[in-house]
């Protein structure tokens, strides 16, 4: 094949160890997810519970609960992150969580279905909701999409309040039974949750779902679908000219996001043993968005990191008493000024690159004599 002659006039891009490093990281990706997963599983299922078990018994419930909350909020936030990934600001995840929680509660209480089944059921119902809503509104972009989803959370609350026949209206659904044991051929696959141990068991459950969520998301982002989503995020028109079916490719991530919202809602319904119209509000929808921003939109673990930081931070600031919100706000503003692209934009690789770049600029070779502090 004839090669097009190269153009000597065009500047050749700088190619140093920086690019090599980033290429190395990019191309070596497929090996480390397994390591990461194993590490995460050990940490979440052995190290942390072991650490918690060493605490005073009264404190254990609290710590388990805090971790459970982080897990289920980050599942929902991961969904929001995925819609960011196709370039949509989603402030409506609270609505899906609310729907998921109610589906789980209603199906359990009114139809007497096992809690375990209601988790996927809530997710699937939310996918249906996502298709119906997403089809028309995914054409919107930018703040337009953001605003319409913000309204959705309010709509969900009003629907719950205004149709008491199904949802029990303002009173909510209380006294949802704790999940039962599941046995198969005499083996107990899933243990019975009781008043004493349910905080711990819900911790394991939600962590398990969280790990699954992030594995699924990791796979998605690093598969071809992820690349297509990214192309959508950056230029829909161009993607369309390359034959990408925009309607479908917007809808799929949105529905996955809805599924995650629904699952998080169902988990919350289980954790709380009751649901009411205010368990997920506009504030939650906004929070998910904030978690994503805080963690960083460029990395799929951003929502997890963001959730941990903001949630733990809020808990930590309880010490400030009346000034909790004030301190929280100030901390947010400062963080935003320092790392406007989120915590995960400070990836070790990037920092390493900086350092290498810095060293590379200042000292051409490592063997030069140590120079004075003139710089």
């Amino acid at each position: 094949m004839e090669r097009f002659p190269s153009n000597p006039n065009l500047p050749s891009p700088q190619r140093g160890n920086l690019s090599n490093l980033s290429r190395f990281v990019q191309e070596s990706r497929p090996t480390w997810p397994w390591l990461g997963t194993v590490f995460a599983l050990i940490l979440l299922f052995f190290v942390i519970p072991d650490f918690i078990a060493s605490m005073r018994p009264e404190k254990q419930g609290l710590i388990y609960y805090q971790f459970t909350q982080i897990a289920l909020l980050s599942i929902a936030a991961a969904g929001v992150w995925l819609t960011f990934y196709i370039g949509r600001i989603n402030i409506g995840q609270g609505a899906l969580c609310l729907v998921g929680a109610y589906v789980s509660a209603i199906v359990q209480v009114k139809l007497d279905v096992s809690y375990w089944l209601t988790i996927p059921l809530a997710g699937i119902f939310c996918v249906l909701v996502g298709i119906v809503i997403g089809w028309p509104i995914l054409r919107l972009r930018g703040v337009y999409f953001a605003m319409i989803t913000l309204i959705l959370t309010e709509v969900a609350k009003l629907v719950v309040l205004n149709f008491p026949i199904v949802t029990n209206g303002a009173r909510g659904i209380t006294n949802i039974p704790l999940p039962e044991a599941v046995t198969l051929f005499g083996f107990t696959i899933l243990p019975e949750f009781t008043a004493d141990n349910n905080r711990m068991y819900f911790y394991f459950l939600s962590m398990f779902v969280m790990v699954l969520t992030f594995i699924a998301l990791f796979r998605l982002v690093h598969s071809r679908i992820g690349r297509l989503c990214k192309s959508l995020q950056q230029n829909e028109e161009l993607a369309s000219s390359l034959g990408v079916n925009l309607v479908l490719l917007r809808l799929i991530p949105f529905c996955i996001s809805c599924f995650m919202g629904g699952v998080a809602g169902a988990l919350a319904a289980g954790v709380q043993h009751n649901v009411g119209p205010s368990i997920f509000t506009v504030q939650d929808s906004v929070n998910y968005m904030l978690y994503c921003f805080m963690g960083g939109l460029g990395n799929l673990f951003g929502p997890l990191v963001g959730t941990v930081i903001l949630r733990m931070g809020w808990n930590y600031l309880t010490a400030a008493g009346d000034y909790q919100l004030l301190f929280y706000a100030i901390a947010l503003i400062i963080l935003m000024l320092i790392i406007p692209n989120g915590v995960m934009s400070l990836s070790p690789v990037r920092i390493y690159q900086r350092v290498v770049g810095w060293l590379g600029n200042r000292r051409p070779t490592l063997n030069t004599v140590p120079h004075n502090r003139k710089s």
Binding site: N7, R227, S231, E237, L238, S240, S241, L242
Partner: protein, 260 residues
């Protein structure tokens, strides 16, 4: 030669303004056809109408006897009519190679579920796309920049990247939107060579919309001239250069801009 694209009496109105008015022409397989015209002649609108990025007000476009106007852009692309963009429209935060691999979308044989779970077919696709991307990058002399962020590319290479994306879709007919804009003479001549080689080596049909007269005259097999939304002439470069209506349209500066 076989006619593959037919533009039949296509019109487009914006409110009271008629941007394109009853334009018809045909494109034959393997030829390079240029659409030219002064500013505001309706070239860009016509281009969007052909690639179905904009619906026609009346008339239609057929590709291999099949009507494509009114279809969604991605379906038109799927049929083999692929456009590139006039501006430096790229995926800013992707590397060059990644961009080209994404552009292989149309060639995929596995479905999305398959890609997600990494089936045999999907992995085979991925491997082939990678190889094909490397080949295209080499062909367009972009190999050295394969791992650069697209947004860091210099201007000329961006256009090459645009064409690389177009090639990756394995098109039957490639619609180039002002591929030579903003290039100096030397760059233009290289690009002209490149487009030529696309046709010669890959058997592509090329339809381009362009301002740069010398380049058009050099590259085209045939030329269609638009003015005020209407077709005023059609023919080989030699015919067009001597066409009084065209000279009239380019008024006064005719000599310079047509490059006689």
């Amino acid at each position: 030669m076989e006619t593959i694209l037919e533009v039949n009496e296509v019109s487009r109105k914006f409110g009271g303004l008629v941007a394109v008015n009853g334009v018809s022409f045909t494109v034959k397989k393997g030829e390079i056809l240029s659409v030219i015209g002064p500013n505001g002649a309706g070239k860009s609108t016509l281009f969007k109408l052909i690639s179905s990025f904009m619906p026609t007000s009346s008339g239609n476009v057929t590709f291999r006897k099949e009507r494509i106007s009114g279809l969604a852009p991605h379906i038109v692309a799927r049929k083999g009519v692929v456009r590139t963009f006039q501006e430096t429209t790229i995926f800013r935060n992707m590397t060059v190679r990644e961009t080209v691999i994404v552009a292989h979308h149309l060639r995929s044989r596995a479905n999305l579920v398959g890609y997600y779970f990494g089936t045999h077919l999907a992995r085979k696709d991925e491997r082939e796309f990678g190889e094909s991307a490397d080949e295209i990058l080499a062909f367009l002399n972009l190999t050295a920049m394969a791992h650069e962020q697209a947004s860091n590319l210099p201007h000329g290479h961006l256009r090459a990247l645009g064409i690389a994306m177009g090639l990756a879709t394995n098109p039957v007919i490639l619609l180039l939107d002002e591929p030579f804009a903003g290039m100096n003479h030397e760059e233009t001549m290289r690009a002209v060579e490149m487009v030529r080689s696309l046709r010669d080596n890959r058997g592509l049909t090329v339809l381009l919309v362009e301002h740069d007269m010398p380049a058009v005259m050099k590259i085209s097999d045939r030329i269609v001239v638009l003015n005020f939304g209407q077709k005023i002439a059609e023919g080989t470069p030699q015919e067009i250069q001597q066409n009084p209506a065209v000279i009239e349209a380019y008024l006064g500066t005719a000599d310079e801009s047509i490059g006689i």
